[in-house]
Amino acid sequence: MTCRLATALLLLAAAAGCDNSFSPKSDFRREPVVYLVLDRDRPFQILRYAASYDPPGVIPGEYRGSKDPGIDSAYVTSIYGTVSFSDTLLEAADGSLVPVMISRALHPAVNTEYRLTVHLKDGRSVSGIARVPPEPGLTLNGARSFFYFDQAASMVHLAAEAAVEVAFPPMGSYFRLWITHWKAAPGGGRDTLREEVPSYVWYTNGVKTYVYTKPDRGTDTDIPVGVLVDFVRGMVERGDTNFVDVKCTVYCLEKNFYSYLKVLKGFDDPLSVRAENPNFTNIAGGLGIFGAVVADSIRMPFPRQILEEIH
């Protein structure tokens, strides 16, 4: 009986063992990909377009094969009318030419809804809707504490007051703090540079890590003066002490654009590592994103008291 059982098991194993091939792919489906982020501060709006592709392998990063989806026309509609995009080529840093569509006539207005429509030559069309956020109206609170360095508890309070008109959460915000400084250029003159100030410093076993701001849904942020001082001290040690000013910028992000950025940078889900990070898109019939951004900035001279304290 043992022999029969063993024979039966081996036969079963041999029969089932024949099929061990695996491909993670299913049938390829070409998807149009479009990117358009309306930016009020730019002289023209750029529509990037591509199509998904099917490389011979399965490893992302080994292939880059963006295809032309075959666009027939693209336009944006709002209460102010319809504005079309036209073909052009942009030169990339490596000298290659990137085909895009641009519109110089489109001037995004805050608090306004826009609809993007892209017609493809194969008869399909993709579309998306984006609402340009309101003016952030950035204010700097607690400036006094900024100028009077207090080792104990001083904080700079930065606030954007843009969300008051819209039900929460309609959008995201992205606060960034920069230090502008200059260096003497080798051939004379000055090179003006800027460096972003971290919002948080994290120590683990004596090792210091700077953590920078990320898109968020908060309407304000706090930047500890201690972090700014620490950061400036590092610049002093490198000899970059010719400061010009401190600039704070807040970007008010359209909600789908905000979601796209968050998904791109990973979920705010620290207790598990997802095997499958999904794509986020608001493009009906395709991939990509149709979003909008409105920025506001405040500049101020760098506080002399802090510099003196450091020196």
Binding site: M1, L5, L9, L10, L12, A13, A14, A16, G17, D19, N20, S21, P24, S26, R29, E31, V33, Y35, V37, R42, I46, R48, A50, S52, P55, V58, P60, G61, E62, Y63, R64, L90, A92, A93, V100, Y200, W202, T204, N205, V207, V211, T213, K214, D216, R217, Y251, F257, Y258, V263, L264, F267, D268, D269, P270, L271, S272, R274, A275, N279, V293
Partner: protein, 744 residues
Amino acid sequence: MLTRRILFFIAAAALCRGPLSAQETGSIKGFVADSLTGERLPLVNVVLVGKPVGAATDVNGFYFLSNVPAGRVKVRASLIGYRPVEQEISLRARQLATLNFRLAPTEVSIEGVTTTAERRMRYDTDVSTQPIGAAEIEIVPAAVEADLFRTISILPGVVSTSDVTSQFYVRGGGGDQNLIVLDGMTIYNPFHALGLFSIFDADAIKEAEVLKGGFPAEWGNRLSSVISIHTKEGNKNRFSGKLSASVLSAKALLEGPTPWEGSWMVAARKSYFDGILQRFVRQPTPFDFYDVIARANVDNGEDGRISFHTLISDDRISQKSPIEPDYTWKNRAYGVSWFQVIQNRYVAEVSFSSSSFSGSLDPKQNQDMTPRLSEISDLYFNGQVSYFTDAGDSYGAGLMFRLPAYHYLFFNSAGYEREERSRSTETGLWFKYKVKQFAPFAFEAGLRSDFTALLSPLIDDAFEPRLSLSYAFSPSVSAKLSYSRVHQRTITITNEDDVVALFETWIPVPRELPAEEADQYIVGVDGDLTFLPGLNFNIQSYYKNYKRLLDYNRDKIDQYDPDFAFGTGKSYGGELFLEYKHSAVYGWISYSLGWTERTIGNLVYPPRYDRRHNLNLVAGYKLGMGWDLNLRWEYGSGLPFSQIIGFYDRLGLGGIFDGGGYGTEPGTPYTVLGPKNQGRLPAYHRLDVSLSKTIPLAGRIRMIVEASAINVYDRRNMFYYNRTTGERVDMLPFLPTANVRIEF
């Protein structure tokens, strides 16, 4: 409405008296114990010879026979692995007599005694309860270590998704829907070594009950299964023990009598070599663990016992590199239980325990990781009493409190600390009535109530009706039907999509949200095949409706989004279990056919553990001269995964904020996935073999040498596909292992 109907049903049955008169019958109760060790034996069939009257012993070795005709009767006690014993007793009408048995083990049955398995009578109305004893654990060839959970995973209706984890999924339920109880203590994370095997040393286990559905009223708080594990009581007659060494660990089990009337048992295990683990997880794994299970019993005459229980386990992964994180996780459980037969008809059981689990991650100098901590601890009280009538019926009632405390800490992606401490209360007040006086019909009706929910707006969570019916076509074959509703208020936030989850974080369902809820319907037939002595069969079909499931919010973008999303689900299927025990041959065949579906919002998908077909063949054969041969072959159809339908160059759009724009940004190739989990991995199958030899050394001392081979024909079973690297990661290759054991 259903609850009211069942309450009415219980009341009507309780008031209705049966046709049998107690005037011509009496009852017999008693205990059955092992003659060598004095340990009480569960699952022993105690029957009247030549009469359709019988019962089986519970985990305390206690039985109660009702409806025994007055006069001189012969009672037979039998259990596979033991010589059957028959005793005669004279019984007067309405007498309750005591008759204890001591069974002698027949370890070398091939050399003379032929023992055929008999139908286990304890589960006469329990539909989906599967007992697992030491023999069932040992028969499965060990993957490094013999393990209870490996045996559970080859039962019908149970799915395991990999060789690398002992996590299992019962009838379409999630991994956190299994209640693991050791001697009455809840164990929250019962895994060693990244889930490779459980923290329960197989040598210390006397019996485990696996309830896959049709839960009696005493069980609750988990939607899918209950695994109730009972440790060995210890040898009451002499000091004895086992010393073992495998390629992974060394362990010892010692047991003996106490100076007072009672016994003790200690089982300890310690790892000493990580080379084998390294083959499993495919990276250097400086892994270290130990576990201790201990128990002491104080007997209160024949009818009572107080037991003290302990479980301690520690795991640690300590990396030498300062940028590789360290992990630790530990379980602590302490409990005391009291069992007492009162006035011969009442059986009271009271237990009090404390259990805790904590896991932590120390990133050291790794700047991409942050410290994490997950803790849960509880205080648990359970009291229950059963009453047996002369008509063969029994009543049961009980009360339980569980007070879990939760604590978790982590740093979110923005670097800010999030810490939360919370407490919850789980209560259960239950009553059940088991009716056997209307043979061939039998039923058990029960109602369980979380009475804290009665005081809240969530009154729908308060009641859980339970009902089981059986009809015996013959003394050896019966049909069964069951319905049960269960709620669950403690869950994990582990994402089922994670291939390997290092962290099992338990949290309470927020008070303002309703509990998870599932209804399960089961129909089945089980019994013996009279034309082939020793062959039992069990055929079941189930339908499980998850009316509420709490899932970690799949669309969570940041901390302002809700943490949880409610979903629903359903699972259904059929199971076949054939078990053969005869003389020197022991084995079983289990086959499951199942479908599982989850719905969250508009997304409908099969979860990662939705396995359509699952077949297990297990066989053990005593070859004689101390040689034992064990085989196991498993086949599982492919598990779901999401297929790639293309690639595209995804833009980061960071230039918008840095002044450069995105007009010429090159983008990063990224996969486009098709509908969730609509693809299937290749089928899984594997053959394991073990061969052991028992060598008598001197007196009672003997040595057992065992050689095992995992995945004998080196099948490349796929574990998962790494989309980032394009690598196919397989499970265990051909792997020979060995262990040696000395028993005295």
